[in-house]
Symmetry: C2
Subunit: 402 residues, 2 copies
């Protein structure tokens, strides 16, 4: 393992990665895992990856697991990077791609964070954790925890997708609903953590979830033949995916695999767009968004702990932040299903709406390579489509064309 | 392409694969795709696969696509073969595995049949098809058809999983519900096909779906290092998966990659077990099962067109057929989620219940390598788990332990 320490990105304080550490004890900022990148640079060879397992664990030099025995796997896959020829043509893109995180175990990108987070927790002998969630993260941590034999306590808003409740409960997690938003769930978790001494697995309150998420960045670069696309659009709630991809890109640049970085775009919903507002005002941090509500439930995060890291990634890569309406989210969700056969989540659909907006504004050029990050399967949000098919009796005939 | 012709497994009549052909025109049996296996034997080298795409298209010698341009892909993956250490220990297996087809695009093994079936339909210039379905097959064919620009007409029982309706409708398929079972849907499709001249994509009424399904067999053998397990258990409705795996095994034996075959086990639900009944009576075909009903909706098939092929595969491999109760299906579903973090479909859970039954009977030995085939994601059947978590107010605390 090449991890050297944990580091506070705000004050630079260093912490011991061999212990369970949560936030920076000075400034309460999330901690980042640091590696001996010089050593990795000397050891890492792209061509060796050909002989490695075809999932995120192939990037083992960049992952915080010391003993491979501690790896908890549910059969992660390299998620496909699909060229959207049909939709690209319709919207005016020459090179539009979608990375489909819906094919992960559990149906969302949250599995990456859980795979690495739970594996590291097992390595550090954690027995129990609590976390707030908008649904998918809780489900992902619950299933990996079940396999690892670690106790999971999950608190989610009562409006979170119903399916994620079944996943948590099915996997044997202790599940609670809260009559509020994810921040309210977070407060309940914080109290429980203080009272019962569990690990706090809240977004960015433990440092290893990012390490799992960053593998999306490695995969994208490897899938483009160790080159970068021009733009990556990411649906942004807590922002860990974007922070993770940015961290992967910086690490790859540090060891000389890439030189320039793609522009990173944070996509939010119009009725919950704290990062977009902060970006438009040129601020380094966001302000709590009142009365947040969007059909893209996963990105209903009024104030993210890592907002400053998301904004930093945007500024440093000449990226931007864009919000889209719920109406557009649902429209592009159907457009993706009908033209590309991709049944994706509303959060993912938001990136398509945002990309089109940025193309029309001229911020994206038609010939640029653009990646939409679909964070999860549409199966979890099936009720955003309300079909009303005719019901036939067994002796009826199809009247065609309708 | 190495396809030479289509062949009736009952009467041996040969048909031209360059045309759209459905059933045998003599005996109405399903047709099988035949390849020049001698030529494949001379050309195919296992080690070359290392350099190929990591999904079902890597087995291209054994697939019926002439021009790769016609391949319609939604980013298929090699689905994981997971060793179930926790569950194996609990039940008494030394080497229990699960192949998780829930990670396919669309969340089920039906994507394999649709990927190859739709690609071949595109190659043969098919513009429109109709099919009956218990949900997942319709959803899979609808999404692949959307990408291919082919019209899909789908008829499913009104009790089929709700989510599959959203998938079909979202992808722009023409969707109809029927107040009956899949056989009733099949009759409606048959009428539409006669009347409007669409292709009939019913189970086994077109020959290419099996070719997609058979890739599960190639993957299992490759994942075991080009060796075979001792037993494969398959949840059996229409039986195409089992027929496909058997066909793959025969082809691999023919070209000398394997010599003996694993014992194939058809798993059905107690209240819809026509294959099991036929097997117990030593018959070659099954009898229509009255009042079929099971929580494993995908295998609610009272009489399968390919029943004689399923039974043949069982007899020829010294396999067996087993039925399990709905109660056990739901019990093993929770057992898999709680001990292995696998949120699978009831059909998949049925294979775990059946394996345990066969172990207790001594038909499976504790040291044998046993593969459970999970055909789809549990997300589509989330309502088989009914969690009832406490609802907290935002100022509440978790009372722990419960």
């Amino acid at each position: 393992m090449y991890v050297t320490h944990l580091e506070c990105p705000k004050c630079g304080t260093v912490f011991d990665h061999r212990k369970v550490v949560q936030l920076c004890q000075n400034c309460a900022a999330p901690l980042l895992v640091r590696y001996d990148l010089k050593k990795i640079k000397n050891k890492f060879r792209k061509k060796r990856l050909k002989h490695r397992i075809y999932n995120l664990w192939r990037y083992k030099e960049f992952l915080p697991i010391k003993n491979e025995k501690n790896i908890v796997s549910l059969g992660e896959v390299i998620t496909p990077l699909l060229k959207l020829k049909n939709l690209g043509k319709t919207l005016g893109f020459k090179h539009l791609y979608l990375k489909d995180e819906g094919l992960n175990p559990g149906g969302s990108f949250k599995s990456r964070g859980a795979a690495v987070g739970i594996s590291r927790a097992k390595e550090l002998n954690v027995k129990s954790f609590a976390m707030p969630t908008n649904g998918n993260a809780g489900a992902a941590w619950a299933i990996y925890a079940a396999k690892a034999g670690i106790e999971a306590n999950i608190v989610m808003p009562k409006d979170a997708p119903l399916i994620t409740r079944s996943e948590c409960a099915g996997a044997g997690a202790k599940l609670y609903l809260v009559n509020g938003l994810i921040n309210d769930a977070g407060k309940i978790v914080a109290k429980a953590v203080r009272q019962y001494g569990m690990m706090d697995a809240s977004t960015l309150k433990e440092p290893y979830r990012i390490e799992g998420k960053k593998t999306m960045g490695f995969e994208i670069v490897e899938q483009f033949g160790w080159k970068i696309p021009d733009v990556i659009l990411y649906p942004t709630g807590g922002g860990v995916g974007l922070i993770g991809i940015y961290k992967a890109l910086l690490e790859l640049r540090e060891i000389g695999i890439i030189d320039v970085l793609p522009r990173l775009v944070a996509v939010q919903a119009q009725n919950c767009a704290p990062i977009v507002k902060a970006y438009e005002n040129g601020q380094k941090e966001s302000v709590f968004w009142e009365n947040a509500k969007t059909v893209a439930f996963g990105i209903t995060v009024p104030k993210a702990l890592g907002d400053f890291l998301v904004l930093d990634a945007i500024y440093k890569t000449d990226g931007t932040a864009v919000s889209v309406s719920d109406e557009d989210i649902l429209k592009y969700k159907l457009l993706l299903a009908g033209s590309e056969g991709l049944f994706i989540c509303p959060e993912g659909a938001a990136t398509a709406a945002a990309a089109h907006k940025l193309l029309e504004k001229g911020w994206i050029k038609p010939k640029e390579k653009v990646v939409l990050l679909n964070t999860g399967s549409g199966l979890k949000y099936f009720d955003t489509i309300k079909p009303n098919p005719p019901i036939l009796d067994i002796n009826d005939e199809i009247v065609y064309p309708l």
